[in-house]
């Protein structure tokens, strides 16, 4: 294809990577904005139960229908998404932070620190993570704290391992060795050389982690280890909707499920695009 005779198709593929990224980022941005703004505009009173409007199918008054207590499902879904996104951001940030600090520390300090961290990584990866997550969430008392701690403690390992490998490689690169030769401290090297190189990796890790976290949050809640039942969380909505599917009230589980899927897919796509771009060599000549 480098064959110059016809128009070169090579760049179109490249350019489409960054266009794809822009589109994915715009989708995620629009989705986030829509959720936050709608949640802000919505009337909290529709969260209350209305005995007269129980189990209504989707219609002009209730876009997503109502549940068996007459609560508007559209409002509950949007509120649930907002909650999920907030928890997702906090949890993903926390686990990326844990991964970055431990990954850099293991590679830089070496010796027993590296041994302990690597052992911890292997151990945590070895345990089935849903079980581990449930145990952690349960032991810290459930609720939002349980979700955040449970998920972040079970999702830092693979990123930490990647960062550790990156830093191990960078530590012996010529520019780091030269920096030491100019009398720069290990702290300077970690902060200025290594952190900057690791940052794109961490960013991609964050975006890829996010949909995962949201799904797990829903799963934990669905299983009953997450939010308390009155909170409008997606997991709760799904949990409540499930028994009604068989009796024909399909909308109770369908709409919250679809919305969750949409958000997760948008983020996963964004993360994928980011990874493609940052991992390209971009080197030549």
């Amino acid at each position: 294809m480098s064959h110059p005779s016809p128009a070169p198709p090579r760049t179109t593929r490249r350019r489409s990577a960054s266009v794809d990224l822009a589109i994915a980022a715009a989708c995620v941005g629009a989705l986030l904005l829509a959720i936050v703004v709608t949640a802000w505009l919505l009337d909290e009173s529709s969260l209350r139960s209305h005995a007269g409007a129980r189990l209504m199918p989707p219609g002009p008054d209730h876009l997503f229908g109502t549940d068996w207590l007459g609560r508007d499902l559209f409002t509950r879904t949007i509120m649930g998404l907002r909650l999920s996104l907030t928890v997702g951001v906090v949890t993903a940030l926390l686990s990326v932070a844990v991964a970055t600090v431990l990954g850099i520390a293991a590679a830089l300090l070496g010796g027993w620190v590296d041994a302990v961290i690597s052992w911890l990584i292997d151990l945590s990866i070895g345990i089935p993570h849903l079980v581990f997550m449930v145990l952690v969430a349960f032991s810290v008392g459930g609720g939002i704290k349980g979700i955040v701690i449970g998920i972040s403690l079970t999702h830092w390992m693979s990123l930490a391992r990647l960062i550790r490998a990156d830093v191990l490689h960078l530590r012996h690169s010529d520019f780091v060795l030269a920096s030491r030769g100019f009398g720069r401290s290990e702290w300077f090297i970690a902060r200025r050389h290594l952190f900057g190189q690791v940052l794109p990796q961490a960013l991609v890790g964050f975006v890829l982690m996010f949909p995962h976290v949201v799904l797990h949050e829903a799963a934990l809640t669905f299983l009953g280890f997450g939010f308390s039942p009155q909170t409008p969380a997606i997991g709760i909505l799904l949990h409540e909707g499930m028994p009604h599917i068989s009796s024909g009230m399909w909308w109770m589980a369908l709409f919250p499920g679809l919305c969750l899927l949409l958000v997760v897919l948008a983020f996963a796509r964004l993360g994928d695009r980011l990874r493609v771009l940052t991992s390209s060599p971009g080197q030549g000549g």
């Binding site: 060795l177 030269a178 030491r180 030769g181 100019f182 009398g183 200025r192 900057g196």
Partner: protein, 206 residues
Amino acid sequence: MSLRATDLAYRVPGGHQLFTGLDLRVEAGQVVGLTGESGCGKSTLARILAGHLPPTTGTVLTDGYPVNAPGPRPVQLVQQHPEKAVNPRWTMRSVVAEAHDPDPALCERLGIRAEWYGRRPAELSGGELQRFCLLRALGPRTRYLIADEMTAMFDTLTQAELFAVVRDIVTERSIGLLVISHDIPLLDRLCDEIVAMPEQASAVSP
């Protein structure tokens, strides 16, 4: 006053013995050439002398002190691939500031233009980058300079220009210079003394 390596040996981790019992001495103000076949450990020796790599056994002393004592080292290394020696994400301004506050006169002699400071390594040619590497290496505390195939990737004009400046500076400041190259005519022009890496049977067969 000298850079002195005594009884150096280096074994590649998990690999073969690169060299053993190696002695080398560069006096302040002296220009020494080092040559040898590719793969005989010239570049490894350069890294050891600059304190980038610990030898398996043996010592490197600069003016009587261990080379890897804390603080800016008196031995600086300029290598074959300047693009590996600088952080690819930094601007040249940060790259230089990492080493020392550059003396404007030195920048001028090395032919570094003011507009290059705002650029990143990928936006400079190899020759331009190597000038920055030389600028970093020729800090106020530098007593010895190791030029490891410093111009092997460049054209003959760039090579002549860079070595002309380096020769003048090391003469003025009485810096000891070790030039590592496979180009014998180059070493003949530059050096007071040329030594060959000892050939070692073990270096050939793994």
